[in-house]
Structure formats: C-alpha cells, structure tokens
C-alpha cells in the first residue's frame, strides 16, 4: 500500500535500454551532460562538489573518494587516475554488468574525475576473465574519442585526457590497490608497503588516485544532480545510493540499487526471499571477506557503520545468501581455498596460514577432524590475522571465525560425520527442488 520507495535506480537506470552501451543511446538519456557541466566549472570546484557529497569508495574500504583525490599534490606532475575494475571478491558482481550495459557512465566518470584531480592520463584496469565488459569499455572509449570527449582540448575546454584500457591476467589480489599498480607496471601483483601511499608515490612512483569502478561511475550523477541530492539519501555517515548484489538461494538474485539506508530485509524481500520450501541459514553482507551473518542480523541497515556494529562490513555490498541445505563447513572451506589460491605469497603468515586452514577444514568436511582440530583452526586463524601487508588473510580468518561462531556444532559434527552426509550437497544446487531431492546428479 503506502509503498515506501526502496530502490533508486541511478547507475542502473539505463541498463535495460536497447543498445544501452552505445554513445548515441547514452547521450539520448542525458549522457555526457555532467561532463559539459563540469568543464564549465574549475577543477577545484568539481573536486569540492564530490568531496562534499561524502561519496565513499564502493570497492570495499569505504574511504571518502573526494578526500582521496585531495591528497594528491597539486604541483607534482604527471599524475594518474587508475580505475580498479578487478572485481573478484566472492559474491561481487556489480561492476561487470555496469561495464557491459553502460560503459559510458564509467568513461564520463573518468573524464570528470581526471579533470578534477588534474590528470592527463587515466587507466582502466579490468580483470581479464571478463571479455565482453572489456570489449564494451574499449568501444566506449573509442566512441568518446571520436565525439571529442577524450583526447586533446576536450569540448574546447583546453583540457586533454587519454584513457588506456588494460586487461588483467587473473589474480584476485590485484583488486588491492598497490598490487594493482604493480600489475599495471608489468610486475607480479603483490601489495606494496605503505607509506608511501599511492596519492604520493603510486604508478611509476608518481601521484596516483585509485578508485573502484562504481565510485567513479557515481561521479556524473553527483555533478548532474548536485551534492545535496546525494546527501539527502542514505544515513548520517553513509550517503547516496549504491548497487547491492544478491545471489544464492533467493528467488530473484540480481542487482538492486538503493540508498545506503536500506535494510538487508528490504533487499532480501525484493529478491523474493529464499526459494520455496526452504529458509535462510546464513549470508554475507559485503562479500566473503566480511564473514557470515545469520537471521538475527536480518534487520541490519546496509551501511558502513551499522554493519561494523554487527561484526561485519559493507565491503562490496555483495550478499551471498544460503538456505538450510547448505553446509557451512563446505562453504567456509571453499572460501578459504579461494584465499589460499589467491594469496600472492609475499607474506608468510598468509601464504602458509591459508594453506594450513585449508588442510584443517578439509578434515572437518570429510568427517575426519581430530581431537583439538577446532582449537587449532581458531588458533591458526588468530595467528595469521592482521600481520600481513594486505587484508587478504584477514578475509579468510573472518570466514573461519564467523562460521565457527554461528555454527560451532556443524564443525563439531566434522569429528565424525562428513559434511556431505550431514547435508547432502545435491540438495543445495540451483536445479534441486524440494520434491525431487537428490534427483540431480
């Protein structure tokens, strides 16, 4: 009845339009209007607008975007803008559809942001395993050059900018900003020690701003609609709208764009709740690195602060949702295997510790855990937490500690019973139905 407005399509608004990725279509719906507005203002003015909008990074850490920009020394040149499109945190699937459906939103965002920071060369680093998004972004950059939005003297403003689209080659760790810079420099993607921070010594040791795809793509909307509009949405400290990704055992998995004041329950309900005949067991709030939550947290507001209070994080706003057929031990093992596989190997605690966690978790999964294994699991997790260059190992640790916290008995069952006997795996599949349990093979 009095339908409270839950969703606010901004970045996603044009995704369903015919040929939404083409310049002509993008311009038809107001595209590149923000750029024209921005170029009439001074770079400082544009930077201030973004800073005052309180836009925070959408890639996980939530650092204020405009503040990040302001750290770059004005008189040190050249400087660079690097877009982080290495989307690979388990559960995260918002940037790839954006790049595919509306690559010009990113391109326009890059141009405005570069203008504000004083950058003449920007890089868009996109994970290599996403061929079509890369095609679309490249084509959009080409179109933008032809239309005079890129290159020399953009729209007669005297401002020059080039964009290079760079494909990655398969490494989760390159989503970490300093690892990404190493990768872009033609080196192994291993995080750097900070300080110096990229704002001072980033790409080629020059001042560099690195922002997530969604953060940059939000900039045109802020310029067009103004910071006050952005500030009117969200919570006290988490402003604006963002894309939430729901996946797993919900009826309607997908992308839902909403203000940061939305609750998990509201999004969960829009996604139709859990598939028929089942109920919610656990979920992640912001990707696997943020650990798991259970039904008791269902009313949490999906903003940066509220999630911290319940022991999670907003992260990449990637909600992976699992029903009661799912083995927590198995899921936890698979996440930790992911971190083991993706550990860059630079820091010993992460490289060795994730390996040890996997060995222990495999025993739990197989019902062959030995006396003291649960304590050992938690002890290893504790030892490797927070002692590495980057938070990769911490992601694995969070998976383990939150899984044990909420489902200790399932781990204890691993002393005797294999997880696949406790909770037969075929019942969790997308093609399993309550009526024909175990039918899928």
């Amino acid at each position: 009845m009095s339908d409270k407005q839950v969703l606010v399509p901004v970045l996603t608004a044009n995704w369903g339009q015919d040929q939404s990725w083409k310049l002509a279509q993008y311009e038809r719906t107001g595209g590149y209007r923000a750029l024209k507005t921005a170029l009439k203002r001074t770079p400082e003015d544009v930077l201030t607008e973004v800073k005052d909008s309180q836009l925070r990074g959408r890639g996980g850490a939530g650092f204020p975007t405009g503040t990040k920009w302001s750290f770059v020394p004005k008189d040190l040149n050249p400087k660079y803008l690097v877009v982080n499109g290495d989307e690979s945190e388990p559960g995260t699937c918002k940037d790839m559809p954006l790049l595919m459906a509306s690559p010009h939103t990113l391109v326009e965002g890059v141009i405005i942001s570069s203008y504000a920071i004083g950058v003449a060369k920007a890089f868009s680093y996109i994970r290599g395993e996403a061929l079509h998004p890369i095609r679309r972004v490249r084509a959009a950059v080409e179109e933008a050059y032809q239309a005079g939005y890129l290159g020399k003297n953009i729209l007669g403003s005297g401002y020059d900018l080039d964009i290079v689209v760079h494909a990655g080659a398969g490494a989760y760790i390159c989503g970490e900003e300093t690892a990404l810079l190493n990768s872009l420099e033609g080196r192994r993607g291993q995080p750097r020690l900070r300080p110096p921070f990229p704002a001072v010594a980033g790409l080629y040791a020059l001042p560099t701003v690195i922002n997530n795809v969604e953060s940059i793509a939000t900039v045109p909307a802020i310029i067009t609609r103004g910071k006050d509009w952005f500030l009117s949405l969200g919570t006290e400290k988490s402003k604006g709208v963002t894309i939430y990704s729901l996946s797993g055992h919900v009826k309607r998995p997908g992308q839902y764009e909403a203000p940061l004041s939305v609750t998990f329950r509201e999004l969960f309900d829009l996604a139709g709740g859990i598939r028929d005949g089942h109920h919610l067991k656990f979920f992640t709030a912001g990707g696997s690195s943020t650990g798991i939550l259970t039904e008791e947290a269902i009313d949490v507001t999906m903003d940066y602060e509220s999630l911290l209070k319940v022991g999670s994080q907003l992260g990449t706003k990637a909600m992976q949702i699992f029903d009661e057929t799912t083995s927590v031990v198995r899921t936890c093992l698979r996440w930790v295997e992911f971190y083991k596989h993706e550990s860059c190997g630079k820091c010993t605690p992460c490289r060795e510790g994730t390996w040890w966690l996997v060995q222990l978790l495999k025993r739990f999964e197989a019902g062959q855990a030995q006396e003291g294994d649960l304590e050992k699991l938690l002890s290893v997790a504790d030892e490797i937490n927070g002692v590495s260059f980057c938070p990769l190992a911490a992601g694995a640790v969070t998976c383990v500690t939150t899984a044990v916290k909420h489902f200790r008995s399932e781990f204890e069952a691993g002393y005797n019973t294999p997880a696949w006997e406790l909770l037969p795996y075929e019942r969790s599949t997308a093609w399993a139905t309550p009526a024909v349990e175990g039918a899928a093979k």
């Binding site: 559809p97 095609r135 989760y172 080629y204 969200g234 507001t301 699992f322």
Partner: protein
C-alpha cells in the same frame, strides 16, 4: 560424491616448457607488440598485454614469446617468466581451441559448480588444468568470476555462460565440438580462446555490439523500480519522512532515528534542474537470455 576429490595445487602453473621452441610470432606480431608498448608511459606496463598477444599467436606463453618480450622491454627473461607464472590466465602448456572454466568458489560450488565440473570432466575425458588430446578443449577450475547472480557459472573463452546446468554444459561442449555457432549468454558468439586473448591483449575484434545489454538478474532491480514508479527523482520528492512514520514496519528499531535524520535534512528539496530523463527506464528484458 564429496564434490571435493580434486586437488588444488597450481597444477596449471609452475615452470614453463622451455624445450618447446615452436612459435608463430613473426614481424607483424612484433610490430603489434611495439604498438602495445607505445600505449604506456613506461614500456614494461605492456608486458601483460604482450603475453596475452603471445598466447593468441602461440596458444600458450611460449619460450620464444618470453624471450622476445624480454628483449623488447629490456628486462631479463626470468622476470617475464616470473610475471607469467604469477597470473592464472597465462598458460604454460598449450590451451585448447576452446578454453572452458567452471567456477567452483563457494557460492557457485554450492549451487552446482562441483557437479558441473564433474560433468565436464567426464564429458571431455580430462581433468581440470588439462587439454584434450585433440587440442579442442582445455579445462580450468576457476575462482569467482563476478557473475554470482547467474550462478552456477561457466566461462567459455572468457565469455559468460550463465545459469549453467549439467545438460546445458554438455550441450555447450557438443555444439562447440560440432563447430555450431554458440552465443554467450552475455557476450559474443564463441570463436576460440585465441581470438579472446587477442582482444585481451588490446586489439578490437569489432564485436562489442553483440549480445544483450544485460542479463535478466542485472535488470531485476531496475524492472522492479519501474513497476513501482520508483525513480531517482521520486525519491527526492519523497523526503521528508512519510506521515505514517509511527505505523511504518518495525523493521529497523536501532537505525530508525538515523534514517530519520538523514531524511529530515532540509536540503532534501527536489532539485528542479535534476534531469527528468532518468525516469522510467525501458525495462525490457534482455534478449538472448535464458529461456
């Protein structure tokens, strides 16, 4: 089935076969490598793209490819190898004409990725990180590929094959083997892994316009908003807090005051200049999506 019989210790990576000196790299390839180098302020940045190009020409990161890249970039071949062995997309052994990746990270695994991998391994008669003897297919067990709302996901030549089932996976392999055209669910028609590698290196294949704008899950929120008349403009108009606030659903007792503060902000007046064309998105379902 435990769903977890396979080992995971970087079988596909490790050292390269330096004895295999075969290569198709010629002067034209080297000219293209130089073209890639010219795109960057520092030429070493082109290493990643150059190795993608080497793969598109040689079907793997070949020993001659490593040496040529090293010479062009003025770095030791060992550093090129160090780079190539770090990233999972670089093949040290020849990949198949079609490269299949099955996601078995947690969510896809749970939703059926393990069963899919079993199915594809049986169908192809190889394990992950192997190539069929006829060179048609190589198989990889991949990590999360950023398509979780389409789980379980299979990648074919790094194109999305969304919402897979064992039946669809078998069909995919049969069709590719028979040379039938297969359209990615969100992408172009599959031609071959080497063609994909060439695009990744940085050369356009002119096929960006193939495929839909988005898949169905990507559009769920937009469609729902369109049905309800929720737009970026209507939300600003909705402030301040609705009059029936006390009767509002008891959803978020703790955070309610906060939300109310945000909404009550005086600045939240509708901005007349906010563009009106963000209204009602054409919420049409993407074509070519799953039936």
């Amino acid at each position: 089935m435990s769903g977890h019989e396979f080992e995971y210790d970087f079988a596909g990576t490790g050292t390269m076969d330096l004895d295999d000196r075969s290569t198709n790299i010629d002067q034209a390839t080297i000219a293209e490598m130089n073209e890639l180098i010219a795109r960057y302020p520092d030429k070493r940045s082109a290493l990643g793209p150059i190795l993608h190009l080497v793969q598109s020409v040689d079907g793997r990161v070949s020993a001659p490819g490593v040496e040529i890249a090293a010479a062009l970039l003025d770095i030791p071949p060992a550093q090129v190898q160090g780079f190539a062995t770090f990233y999972t997309m670089y093949h040290k052994k020849p990949a198949g004409k079609h490269h299949i990746g099955v996601c078995t990270t947690a969510l896809c695994a749970v939703l059926g990725g393990d069963a899919l991998l079993d199915c594809v391994e049986k169908k192809l008669g190889i394990h992950a990180d192997e190539t069929t003897p006829d060179g048609e297919f190589s198989l990889e067990r991949i990590e999360c590929n950023a398509a979780c709302d389409f789980a379980p996901v299979v990648m074919a030549n790094w194109e999305f094959m969304d919402n897979m089932t064992p039946e669809k996976a078998e069909q995919l392999i049969d069709d590719l083997r028979a040379g039938k055209p297969v359209q990615a669910t969100r992408g172009a028609t599959l031609t071959g892994w080497r063609d994909s590698e060439r695009v990744l290196a940085g050369f356009s294949d002119g096929r960006a316009d193939e495929g839909p704008s988005a898949g169905e899950p990507s559009l769920r929120g937009v469609q729902l908003a369109a049905e309800k008349g929720w737009t970026a403009d209507s939300v600003t108009g909705a402030a301040p807090a609705p009059p029936d606030a006390p009767a509002a659903p008891p959803a978020e007792p703790k955070t309610e005051p906060k939300a109310a503060t945000a909404k009550a902000e005086p600045k939240a007046e509708p901005k007349p200049k906010a563009k009106a064309d963000a209204k009602a998105p054409a919420a049409k379902a993407a074509k070519g999506d799953k039936k």
